[in-house]
């Protein structure tokens, strides 16, 4: 079972995403800010990080930077309500494989997850 670290401060989105992804067979740990995400990534091994760009304590970009350093093999999906070009560039530079605009459907997210994991494995194979 693949494990996902979900970082989302909006309760309705976080709880819905957690529930739906669990139904599809993923193990989810959901936190609501960047600092708790970093601490969770030190205690657990995750395959996938799904992170909102606007979260408290530590920005999404900096959360990706630190977690990619702690867990270089993690596949990262960056989400934002306003995924502007500069945010996309910064997200990818920080370590994201996919940048997703909100709102999205569960089937879109599942497809992003599969692609991000495949992309990450492909990157590791190149090393």
């Amino acid at each position: 079972m693949e494990s996902i670290l979900l970082v989302e401060d909006e309760d309705d989105i976080g709880s819905l995403l957690k529930e739906e992804l669990e139904i599809h067979g993923y193990r989810i740990i959901w936190v609501k800010n960047g600092v708790d995400a970093v601490l969770a990534a030190m205690d657990n091994k995750f395959d996938i990080l799904i992170v909102d760009m606007v979260i408290p304590d530590l920005s999404g970009i900096n959360t990706i930077r630190i977690i990619s350093k702690i867990a270089p093999g993690i596949a990262v999906i960056a989400c934002s309500g306003m995924m502007e070009k500069n945010i996309m560039i910064d997200s990818v530079a920080a370590g994201a494989s996919v940048c997703v605009n909100k709102p999205f459907t569960i089937s879109q997210m599942l497809s992003h997850i599969r692609w991000a994991v495949k992309h990450k494995k492909g990157q590791e194979g190149e090393l």
């Binding site: 600092v35 601490l39 030190m42 304590d57 530590l58 900096n62 930077r65 630190i66 350093k69």
Partner: protein
């Protein structure tokens, strides 16, 4: 030579502190915010960390929480610009051994460092 991680976004203050600590015989790595401090601590081993509380991107208290997770034995001293603001309690709760209120003398800081490093 003992290695110290110093994180402070006040450029002049940080440069003076770095120079003084170098002269006192410490190898100092200076960064400007909490995120850079965490990234340096993932890549390098330090004997001690000195962190300002008020920093961009990641504040000193949350930086202490993460640094202590990376290295539970790392002694951390924080600096607060406002006495009695609650920073001291938050820092200690996060794992710092001491919170100094700015301004402080270099002698005071060196005494705290030596105490923390058992020198």
């Amino acid at each position: 030579m003992k290695k110290i991680l110093l994180a402070d976004d006040e450029k002049n203050f940080a440069e003076v502190l770095k120079t003084e600590l170098n002269e006192a015989g410490y190898d100092v790595t200076l960064v400007r915010d909490g995120v850079e401090a965490v990234i340096k601590a993932i890549d390098n081993r330090f004997d001690m960390a000195l962190l300002d509380i008020m920093m961009p991107n990641l504040d000193g208290v949350n930086a202490v929480r993460i640094l202590k997770k990376i290295d539970p034995e790392l002694p951390v001293i924080t600096f607060s610009g406002v006495a009695g603001s609650g920073d001291m309690a938050s820092s200690i709760k996060a794992g710092a051994i001491r919170c100094l209120t700015k301004p402080f003398s270099i002698e005071q800081l060196l005494a705290e460092i030596k105490k923390a490093l058992h020198e």
